[in-house]
Symmetry: C2
Subunit: 237 residues, 2 copies
């Protein structure tokens, strides 16, 4: 039974973390918004017969199940497709890392929308500039330092965030590094030499056969200025 | 073996969601920051021997385990103390609701800190005012409407968010309503009559024996202007 991913058709956004897991798992899935249009997404989002409607996309349909919230979807896929270790302690730790990625993603979005998503970027540019400076100089290094630290402390290897093998947390760290490099190329060029293990995870994920094929395919939407990681040169530096 | 909660001593904050679950479960716990001071929190936060350091408090120590991220902690406690149904589908749904509560909590914080936590509120008051208006008029109703909808659609009862009995999601919805009422008394007085099932959950949680005793005790820190839900009259209306 194919998975159905429901997410906005034009952006990577939070849906991309799910796409990466589905691609690495090598399972059949329908990217409903892209393949059937935004109306198909809207119909399933809040159809009156749905007991568990999500507050926002992405959500995943698998048979009768509809599961929302990115980290929750990844926990579900991870257990089914070997993208998380089996022990409870390791599953909790992987999820904790993913939830911290989610916090970083929210901050990366709020850099260009500090007053919230109900105003256009053009209506909050001076505010975005103030927030971006702190994000570049304080928040990005703080998050990357944390990822570097937990890689260093992983008793099994410094090539993966959890245990000895790939987990969905590694896929998500790849996406975060790719997104930060797209949005803040100058800032990232300056800070990333400090975090060689983080960059190592990025590079090794990008080189995996299925991920490499995915990134080269037209299933991978390009980064753009409607998504979470946006390149506005005035916010980089 | 007593649980140890590590969180800032002076605020409810995100730690309060964990405190409510520990109190309802009726288990022994040490609120380390409050009982032993912030230094004890800092020592455990990033001691060099810790393989799974959290990015930020709260985190919970249980024997050798250290678990961070509020929703993750609640999933752990919920399974152990009957605060979540046993089926996988119900556990995922409860966690999805909790992660949506977490999104609301982040927005409630960002109302008074739209430019981020590295500037004082006093340095971002005009921006906070703009964001607060949208939060009161658009975001609060959108979240409360969603909670009301899922209560209405719960096939078992409209008195609980998941299944027929109390879950940690109900405890968290209580906390959110209490916090919004504290921070935005005028806005909440205006909108809350629309959401009677949401208010019903708040009231029934507040009336539970253990929660009632907790709220009346000095273990419950009062809401204040260092926490997430802050009452600044200029942001209400």
């Amino acid at each position: 039974m194919a998975y159905e991913l429901y997410y906005w058709p034009g952006i990577q956004g939070r849906g991309e973390f799910v796409r990466l897991a589905l691609e690495e798992a090598g399972v059949d899935y329908v990217d409903v918004g892209r393949q059937q249009g935004a109306e198909a997404l809207m119909r399933m989002w809040d159809g009156p017969g749905i007991d568990t409607p999500s507050f926002a996309p992405p959500f995943l349909k698998h048979g009768k199940r509809i599961i929302g919230q990115t980290a929750n979807i990844l926990a579900y896929l991870g257990e089914r497709h070997g993208l998380v270790p089996k022990s409870e302690a390791a599953r909790l730790w992987t999820q904790q890392i993913q939830l911290t990625v989610a916090d970083l993603v929210t901050e990366a979005h709020d850099v260009h929308h500090p007053l919230g998503g109900d105003f256009y970027y053009e209506d909050q540019k001076p505010e975005a500039k103030r927030r971006a400076k702190v994000f570049r100089e304080v928040r990005i290094p703080r998050y990357l330092e944390w990822f570097e630290t937990i890689l260093t402390r992983n008793p099994k290897t410094d090539k993966h965030l959890v245990g000895a093998r790939l987990s969905y947390a590694d896929l998500s760290l790849f996406q975060v590094v790719a997104g930060l490099r797209y949005a803040f190329p100058k800032a990232m060029a300056r800070v990333q030499p400090e975090y060689e293990r983080v960059i190592g995870v990025h590079d090794s994920v990008a080189a995996r056969a299925r991920i490499k094929a995915y990134l080269a395919s037209n299933r991978r939407i390009a980064f753009n200025e409607d998504g979470i990681f946006r390149h506005y040169p005035e916010l980089d530096g």
